[in-house]
């Protein structure tokens, strides 16, 4: 097992839609630094968004993701570093001249305007005549499926409809960059699911370079071409969703994205011993034999077989469709999550004794109870 490289990969993944469209702009963050008092919101952020690409910034509260987006929008300044759009340094360019559409977390429609007038606002500011802007606004409302709600005021629309109008409004000005600041976080689960599909479809169709900030990993992984995980104002890793899940570069990323079990292990020659099994081909990053470490294993990287007097007891079962997630109690302090095919899991009952073992799959190694980056 190979531990992925920890270098910050800012190049687009092979499946990123770099050549999808010429409509979007190339966006570059170069070593951005920004502090608020003693707190560092951005600490040397380096990131490139290819034209037409959707990049999601994911991370816990205070990691700097929203600051990064606001810096790009011109709503926040940096202490040092550069933001370039198509090679042009945006320093000193005010928000209103950046040509970026933005959808906010809070409902941001102008309450005194109808949906149509909201969408047409940016066109009006740009001096387009009434007929043109109404026609264009109508097209965009149609695109987000709200043509029949054009004359409604924001208070007459549901939360999901308001965000769709906000999306249409942001797209109406034909921005070169679209900024999405947790636009789905205030919506209920069903609407969120519908809207994220709609946003993705529209973004793909229009080819607008998009920076999407979210704390919801499911949203980030399902929508973005690449996902950047931020921590402490820096990018821990940026990669395609699949790569991020399968080959996280740090323990923090591994535990932040998806579910991860942390099991006590010991470095042995050629690998690690975990759950009384030696797993080879694990990169222990130079740790000496006998070092106590934590093995990070995803639920699908473990198996649970019913045996008398096994190492664990099934404490809980969660049906997920084709698989069932088992919570297995290994000791008083240690419970692990194991994904098992639902047909097999159906044979297990709560309280049943099982043997938990690691599959021969990817295992990451970290210092015990630490989320520190794994040295390469």
């Amino acid at each position: 097992m190979t531990i992925p490289a920890t270098s910050r990969d800012t190049t687009p993944a092979t499946d990123a839609p770099a050549a999808r469209t010429a409509g979007g702009a190339l966006v570059e963050f170069r070593d951005l630094r920004r502090s608020f008092g003693t707190a560092r919101a951005l600490d040397g952020l380096i990131l490139t968004l290819e034209p037409g690409e959707m990049v999601a910034l994911l991370g816990p509260s205070g990691c700097g993701k929203t600051t990064a987006l606001r810096v790009l929008a011109g709503m926040e300044t940096v202490d040092s570093g550069q933001v370039l759009v198509d090679g042009r340094d945006l320093r000193g360019v005010p928000t209103r001249r950046r040509d970026m559409g933005m959808v906010f977390q809070n409902y941001s429609l102008f309450p005194n305007m109808t949906a149509l007038d909201n969408v047409a606002f940016g066109l009006r500011v740009r001096g387009q005549n009434n007929a043109n802007r109404r026609a264009r606004a109508g097209e965009l409302l149609d695109m987000v499926g709200l043509a029949e709600r054009a004359t409604r005021y924001p208070h007459q629309l549901s939360g999901g409809q308001q965000q769709r109008v906000a999306l249409a409004r942001a797209l109406a000005i034909e921005p070169r960059v679209l900024l999405l600041d947790e636009p789905l976080s205030a919506l209920d689960a069903k609407v969120r699911l519908q809207l994220r599909e709609q946003i993705r479809t529209l973004q793909t169709r229009l080819g607008t370079t998009t920076l999407f900030v979210t704390h919801d990993q499911e949203e980030a992984l399902s929508m973005a071409d690449r996902v950047g995980v931020m921590r402490g104002g820096r990018l821990e890793q940026i990669a395609t969703p699949g790569e991020l899940y399968a080959r996280p570069s740090t323990a923090f990323v591994a535990e932040f994205v998806g579910t991860m079990n942390r099991l006590p292990a010991e470095v042995v020659p050629g690998g690690v011993r975990v759950l009384d099994q030696v797993i080879t081909a694990v990169d222990v990053s130079g740790r000496a034999v006998g070092t106590i470490v934590d093995a990070l294993i995803r639920p699908e990287g473990l198996t649970a077989e019913p045996v008398p007097h096994g190492s664990g007891i099934v404490a809980h079962k969660t049906f997920l469709g084709s698989t069932t997630r088992l919570s297995v109690l290994l000791s008083e302090e240690l419970t692990v999550q194991v994904d098992s095919p639902s047909t097999q899991a159906a044979q297990l009952s709560i309280g049943e004794s099982v043997a938990v073992a690691p599959r021969d799959s990817q295992i990451l190694v970290a210092d015990p109870t630490s989320s520190a980056a794994i040295p390469s």
Partner: protein
Amino acid sequence: MVAVTGTEAARPPREGALTASARRSWGRWVVLLAAGVYFLVPLYAALRFAVQTPDGGISLGVFGGIPAQQGFADAFGLSLNLALVTTLITLALMVPTAIYVHLRLPQVQRLFEGITILPIVIPPVVLIVGVLQAAPAALKGTPYLLALEYAVLAMPFAYRSLASGLQAMNLKTLVEASRSLGGGWFTTAFRVLLPNLRSALLAATILTVALVLGEYTMASLDQYETFPVWVVVFDQDNAHVSVAVSLLALIGTWLLLILISLIDTRRGHRASTPGES
């Protein structure tokens, strides 16, 4: 333990609890009645006095004769003029200030609210001296000096009205949304913010007008015969008319305040109307 709690929760309210509730309800009515008597009896007495004729009868003619009273038109005209100028000065100063404080200096909002209520506790004569020190020379000796003094006096009411309007809207997001769409400050202010501050602006205007139409001390100290000063002076010649005018002024102010309340109620109702999913 849980079962016991559940049983207790399921019990009907005890008789004692009902009695206490009824007592509280009666208490509220008594307080309301006392307050009503306290406010309405003097008004009734004033009305009775105003409409009473020398022979003990009742006539509403006193109200009809008000406009023809000597000095009324000038005093009322001056007060209306001052109300207009004061309102313009107050809004011109307070609207940008309130928006700026809420948008850029939210950390000093409390401090600013404290500052704005100072005119209530500072004696009028001190305010007059302060305004005299700062006023342009061209205004000194004109009644418009009063407008500057009234603008200071109206600050607590105008600022609070505007502040509540700004707090009710998502100011920062609306401004950022407008800016991101290309709106300059002028466009943002006149197309986005002011239309959404309409009822707050109306409230600030009405309160300022009501204040100007009712303010006596400053006008009297500055020796201008505004409407309230005229009422007091005229009271010495014809107390019936003076009281009738005061009553009308009071009713006019009430109507304005009810108008604000109705507008706010309509806005609240509109805001709470559920959207369709």
